[in-house]
């Protein structure tokens, strides 16, 4: 880390701090603030990742307020804890709409919870950007009010198989956790492998808590695939890597969807994590507009590195802001029409949806853990390192 970089960061940190203290004093705005509501999983199994997403949103709001808010009004973020439960989220969004009279809403964390609140948005006619609902099944005919603010789960690890195939990999094992998001990825990757003419030598789905990854790893060892592709969440991502090592098998390519990007992953696996491939919808060296500032502000404000969850939360605020400013109103129907018609550049890439609200602009880039650190390996122009093959597994 260079000295200028450090100075830069310090400057930003003090700037944001001043900004915050300024915010704490009563605002002078004549209008009352625009109320933006959302739930986040502050407790329950999703709490760890949801925090990054929420922080991204908070930063987006802070920045907007620093620039005077939207339509000349300050923004106020109202967050409830949905306990990682769909039922609680439905009730609390109803509260945000009918009791708190929120002007705007942002979606919750996770595909499952979004799936539960999506019908409510259609019924209440709130145009909502969903920063964490990657499953495609929400954005189907009949959905008018939910907009995907993140890359679809169909795109998770999409870039890996063509790359591996080009390098001579012939056989694949695909694993899928039984959840809406991971299964969408599982089906898509199996189909992709077949289209590429690669042979799927082993495939299975499982549920959490899975007591014994050893058996799965042993079965895969017997099938000897070139590529192992796991559509995973965090605990199973770690469990699988440990199990493969315990069974003495290291595939040439070892990729997992969710897990490797988390800082805890490398801590949990040490050197075993090296060579694991994953993907991300955002990376700090993205040339997307505002990406650099986003990274710096985020680090200054939360004393942690942002991840793609943070970028998605931040992006959702930006998209909503663009729609509000674009329509010069808080009218939900106008915002809906605007969101359908326009493309918004976010740190993740272009926000652009089809007629059903499915994302068309976002994509996933591959990352790989090398020497204990995540390195971007695709796209080529941004890559920080070359893809390391084979996976060492020790």
């Amino acid at each position: 880390m260079t000295n200028t970089h450090l100075l830069h960061r310090l400057a930003w940190a003090s700037g944001v701090a001043m900004l915050l203290s300024f915010m704490a004093t009563p605002g002078q705005a004549a209008d009352k603030p625009i109320l933006i509501g959302a739930t986040s999983s502050e407790t329950g199994p999703f709490a760890a990742d949801a925090e990054y997403n929420l922080n991204g949103m908070k930063l987006g709001i802070e920045e907007a307020n620093a620039k005077g808010g939207w339509l000349g009004r300050k923004l106020e973020l109202k967050i409830y804890d949905d306990e990682s439960k769909p039922g609680t989220a439905v009730r609390l969004y109803t509260r945000l709409i009918t009791e708190d009279k929120a002007d705007l809403l942002i979606g919750p964390y996770s595909s499952g919870i979004t799936q539960a609140i999506a019908p409510l948005m259609n019924k209440q006619q709130y145009a909502v950007v969903e920063p964490e609902a990657s499953i495609p099944t929400i954005y189907v005919p009949g959905n008018k009010w939910n907009f995907q603010g993140v890359a679809s789960s169909l795109t998770y690890l999409e870039g890996l198989l063509p790359l591996a195939n080009k390098n001579g990999a012939k056989t694949v094992a695909v694993l899928g956790l039984k959840s809406a998001f991971t299964l969408a990825c599982y089906d898509a990757r199996i189909k992709q492998a077949e289209q590429l003419g690669m042979k799927v030598v082993y495939k299975t789905t499982y549920s959490l808590p899975e007591p014994d990854f050893a058996s799965m790893a042993l079965a895969i060892k017997n099938a000897q695939p070139d590529v192992v592709l796991g559509c995973t969440y965090y605990p199973d991502a770690v469990g699988l890597v440990k199990a493969f090592q315990a069974q003495g098998f290291a595939p040439k390519y070892f990729a997992e969807t969710v897990g490797p990007v988390a800082a805890a992953f490398t801590k949990a696996l040490g050197p075993l994590a090296n060579g694991i491939i994953s993907n991300t919808g955002w990376w700090h060296n993205f040339k997307t507009p505002g990406s650099k500032e986003f990274t710096e502000h985020y680090k200054a404000m939360f004393k942690q590195d942002p991840d793609y969850h943070s970028a998605a939360g931040y992006g959702a605020v930006k998209v909503l802001g663009a729609a509000v400013e674009g329509t010069k109103s808080l009218d939900q129907d106008k915002i809906r029409v605007w969101l359908h018609a326009n493309t918004v550049d976010t740190v993740q890439g272009p926000f652009k949806v089809d007629a059903n609200g499915l994302s068309q602009g976002f994509s996933q880039s591959l990352v790989q853990i090398q020497d204990g650190h995540l390195k971007l390996v695709t796209p080529e122009d941004l890559a920080e390192a070359k893809l390391l093959v084979p996976y060492p597994g020790k």
Binding site: T205, P209, D212, L218, P235, G239, Q245, G248, K267, L269
Partner: protein, 286 residues
């Protein structure tokens, strides 16, 4: 070769279950306290070990005695407040202890969340293997299994060959009778509970090497422990150990031939089947 590897996998998996189950067996099987916070103690110890190891670089095997002592003290402080007052309630004691520890579980999870956050963590320790031809042995699994079995063996000798252990067994079988023989039943119960918590916590310290844990992942360990104790027979020392290994073996086979979900529901299928055929547990069936 495949058969041998499956057998080894099963035994190693069973090895991770032994201590989880035996620590509950002491509290539930012997003292008849239904401890629903069992898994939370395991997970808290695991998270604590991770935290301490990550900070100080200590090996988890060195953290083990620290965890043992600390959790013993915690157990000894909790028992007089939460468990002892229920012990004079006769047949209702079991239900009441279930309810109290159910509440305790919530509190422990919240504490763990506050102190260590909601992240899943695991320690990279002894991540290498011994290879014998086509057979692979994970060092971490072997070490965890050996330590677990070793601790359980110590427990066995402690219970059967020391006067305090005998007092404990006597107090569990007949509190009144034991009191008549001059045994301080209250102190024995306190010791047994604290020891059970200390053993459960030791299991957590060992398991964090091989299992990702998070504050809210405790319930499954609690359930697993109860199922194994139920299968082995309450208070049955050998039965529970055998049940732990058999379950590990069965899950390993089911996982290989039928898939992960089969291994997942297997404990319950076995539990229901065994309880219907032999209501007294596996040992009585043999």
């Amino acid at each position: 070769m495949l058969a041998v590897q499956l057998l080894i996998n099963g035994i190693l998996l069973g090895g991770t279950y032994v201590l989880i189950a035996q620590s509950l067996n002491l509290i539930f099987g012997v003292m008849r306290v239904v401890n629903l916070a069992h898994g939370s103690f395991i997970v808290m110890a695991g998270l604590f070990t991770f935290w301490l190891s990550a900070r100080t670089g200590l090996s988890p095997l060195i953290v083990l005695p620290i965890v043992f002592v600390v959790s013993f003290v915690v157990g000894a402080l909790l028992q007089p407040v939460l468990i002892e007052p229920l012990m004079n309630q006769g047949r209702r004691a079991e239900l009441l202890s279930l309810m109290v520890t159910f509440g305790l579980d919530y509190v422990l999870v919240q504490i763990a969340l506050h102190v260590w956050g909601a992240d899943y963590v695991s320690l990279p320790y002894l991540q290498s293997t011994w290879t014998f031809g086509a057979i692979t042995l994970s060092k971490a699994l072997v070490v965890v299994g050996l330590f677990a079995v070793g601790i359980v063996a110590l427990l066995y000798f402690g219970l059967n060959y020391t006067s305090f252990g005998k007092a404990l067994l006597a107090a569990s079988q007949s509190p009144v009778g034991a009191a008549c023989c001059g045994i301080n039943v209250r102190r024995v119960r306190l010791f047994a509970f604290a020891l059970g918590i200390a053993l459960a916590s030791s299991a957590g310290t060992l398991l964090i090497m091989i299992l990702p844990m998070a504050a809210e992942s405790a319930d499954n360990l609690t359930i697993l422990a109860f199922v194994i104790v139920a299968l082995g027979g309450l208070g049955e020392y050998a039965g529970v150990t055998i049940a732990a290994f058999l379950l590990g073996l069965a899950q390993s086979l089911a996982g290989y031939f039928l898939g992960g979900d089969a291994a997942n529901v297997l404990p319950f299928v076995i539990l229901i089947a065994v309880m219907l055929l032999w209501p007294q547990g596996l040992r009585r069936a043999a």
